[in-house]
């Protein structure tokens, strides 16, 4: 028990004159296990990249990142949040991937008077009736994913569509969001099971209905399974598919392979964006981690930059709550997605893009196709 005491004394001695140099603690509660684990992994790795690029600082302020895995369970997330807030005295939390975990964690963080800045999950209730002065979203409001896909389908001239999503709240929100902007006829809404591995029954229904196109929301592994089976059933040639970026990012593209060519994707960012911030980020991320960044990685990176901009404004002193909040609202950082500002509900106002996947330019047998503008 002597060692910690010694270290603490040393730290006191060294830190004496410059108290402000104590690192600001940032709590990151994210999903690192379960099939959705690679989402949190990308957010965490990109966030770390941003910190390391500044030599352990964000916005010139030394930071300490505390990462914990929520295991995709709301109860776990809440428990970690309590520990971070009470034991570690964290005043700034980020990292949540899934909306159901966010629903349990964000209120805990906010009630304790801390800040929560989301790098991914953006459930609609927090953008409206449950909004909070200390709650920011650096990614998107969930509905945007599906609304943009609805708009894209309308722009592509599709009139009769079949739309599918898993039978849970986010799936229902997805189809509702899609229909808000798609003005054509929805021939059928198909709800799949959350743990479903075989989609042949749904694919046969699609074939029989002969729609102009299909919209489907199956994030992560289920999306891979769905697209593989869609292609093998020979539907991709006759019935185009429209999805949002969560259903078709670089990791999913890699797992689906060339079969994904021709799929229409809507998103807020893609790793071929030409702005210098994005190019520098993609290069740094790819060099360090040896894989292409997903939109999740981009969101993690932007979240870190956003936090950095606000830390800089208050010199790392989170006790200046009002000034910190005001600085966050300004969003005074160079976003890798181009233009970025907050609406009055502290969710981003940003452009959405339509992409189409095409074969990878290098003719390597195993290289996956890449989404392009």
């Amino acid at each position: 028990m002597k060692v910690p005491a010694l270290v603490a004394a040393l730290a006191l001695f060294c830190a004496g004159p410059t108290v402000a140099q104590t690192p600001v603690k940032i709590g990151m509660i994210t999903t690192l296990t379960t099939p959705g684990g690679y989402l949190g992994e990308d957010v965490r790795d990109a966030f770390r990249l941003a910190i390391d690029e500044e030599g352990g600082k964000l916005g010139g302020v030394p930071v300490q990142l505390i990462v914990e895995d929520d295991n995709l369970k709301p109860a776990n997330g809440k428990q970690i949040a309590d520990k971070m807030l009470q034991q570690d005295k964290v005043k700034l939390v980020t990292g949540l991937i899934f909306s159901n975990v966010a629903g349990a964690v964000a209120p805990t963080v906010l009630e304790a008077g801390a800040f929560y800045i989301s790098p991914n999950a953006g459930p609609s209730n927090f953008a409206g009736k449950d909004c909070h002065k200390n709650y920011f979203v650096a990614s998107w409001q969930n509905d945007s994913l599906h609304e943009s896909a609805g708009q894209a389908a309308a722009n592509l001239g599709y009139k009769r569509m079949v739309i599918l999503a898993p039978n849970y709240q986010a799936g229902k929100d997805a189809l509702t969001g899609f229909k808000r902007y798609f003005k054509g006829e929805v021939l059928e809404e198909i709800y799949t099971k959350l743990d479903q591995t075989d989609f042949s029954a749904e694919l046969a229904r699609i074939r029989a209905l002969k729609p102009d196109a299909v919209y489907q929301f199956h994030p992560g592994g289920q999306g891979i399974t769905f697209v593989k089976q869609y292609v093998q059933a020979g539907l991709i040639g006759s019935t185009p598919m429209v999805v949002s970026e969560v259903s078709m990012e670089p990791r999913i593209l890699g797992a689906v392979g060339d079969a994904a060519v021709g799929i229409n994707v809507t998103g807020h960012w893609n790793n071929d964006f030409a702005n210098p911030a994005s190019q520098a980020f993609v290069k740094a991320f790819t060099t360090r981690y040896n894989r292409a960044p997903t939109p999740y990685a981009q969101q993690g990176y932007d979240t870190a930059k956003l936090i950095g901009s606000a830390l800089k404004a208050v010199g790392g002193d989170l006790a200046k709550e009002d000034a910190f909040r005001a600085a966050l609202r300004k969003a005074d950082f160079v976003s890798t997605r181009g233009s970025f500002r907050f609406g009055s509900n502290q969710h981003p106002i940003q452009d959405w893009y339509a992409f189409r996947s095409r074969p990878a330019p290098t003719a390597s047998r195993r290289s996956p196709p890449r989404a392009r503008c």
Partner: protein
């Protein structure tokens, strides 16, 4: 009518896929009395080995060898290191230990292969589609799954009914102590049966890799349906597993295919969609409940 035929075929194919997994699970339970929650992990190991080898060599045959070797090897190691200590313990201990194994395998695979789902495609000669029903191109690979499952069922039936090993398996299931007293090495028999179950799980993994997401945790998703199959068929009965698997495959597929449409004849579309999705999801559990009411030991108890 054509649509109904197609959905029947889909249901049979899904059922056969479930049978590949359920056969191993039910064998291990029937002969050794072990509830093996890590069976899905062996399925995952098979799928990962297949996808990794296919990715590096492009050869489906090598991938098949790798899947069987990896799952079989993992099965042997698990039997030797863990399961062997569980034969005389009660089911709760077995569930705890094998659940631990399941978590261990998930982390092991994530560490070795990363969390990015792997890519695998069917071999070129099975990659197309055939019009076995006019106007409906059916993926050849799914027919290959169907054929594999039927072949495995026939092979198992032969093994259990006609061979010396099968005789010992049957005897071991019902009169374990006597078989041991007659000088049969019961430990070796158990190891063989467990390895056979692991091989079948690896085979299922190989056949699933081209049509499913090859990812950490893929075993648990399908394990639940597999347990339903085993319970419906009768714990420990391979014949029961075959019948149960086909029933579950058909009921699940046909419910998802037709229940929402049928409900629309009666209810408003929004109600029908919500109710239909719920009913379709619950169909196999309703089936299980019904079977348990009328045949508490399953359809074809061992």
């Amino acid at each position: 009518m054509l649509l109904f035929l197609e959905q029947l075929l889909n249901g049979l194919q899904y059922g056969v896929m479930l049978f590949l997994l359920a056969a191993g699970l039910t064998l291990v339970f029937g002969i050794m009395g072990v509830i093996n929650l890590a069976h899905g992990s062996l399925f995952m190991v098979g799928a990962y080995a297949a996808a990794a080898v296919a990715g590096h060599t492009g050869s489906f045959a090598l991938a098949a060898l790798a899947a069987l070797a990896a799952a079989g090897g993992a099965g042997l190691a698990v039997e030797f290191l863990v399961i062997r200590r569980l034969y005389d313990r009660d089911h709760l201990d077995q569930v705890l230990a094998t659940f631990g194994l399941l978590l261990f395998f998930n982390e092991l695979v994530a560490t070795l292969a990363g969390r990015t789902p792997l890519f695998m495609q069917p071999p070129a000669w099975l990659g197309g589609a055939v019009e076995i029903i006019p106007g409906v191109p059916y993926p050849t690979f799914r027919l290959a799954i169907l054929a594999t499952g039927v072949a495995v069922a026939a092979g198992l039936a032969f093994l259990i009914a006609r061979t010396r090993l099968g005789m010992l398996i049957r005897a071991g299931a019902t009169h374990r102590a006597i078989v041991g007293a007659l000088g049969v090495d019961i430990r070796l028999l158990f190891t063989l049966v467990f390895a056979l179950g692991a091989l079948l799980a690896g085979l299922a993994g190989l056949m699933a890799a081209p049509i499913l997401a090859v990812q950490v945790g893929m075993g648990e998703q399908i394990l639940i349906a597999t347990f339903v199959v085993v319970v419906i068929g009768g714990l420990g009965s391979v014949r029961g597993a075959f019948v149960g698997a086909l029933l579950v495959g058909l009921v699940d597929t046909l419910a998802r295919a037709f229940v929402p449409g049928l409900l629309k004849q009666v209810f408003a579309p929004t109600t029908a969609d919500a109710l239909g999705a719920g009913l379709a999801s619950a169909a196999i559990y309703l089936l299980m409940a019904l079977v348990l009411v009328f045949r508490p030991r399953g359809l074809l108890p061992a």
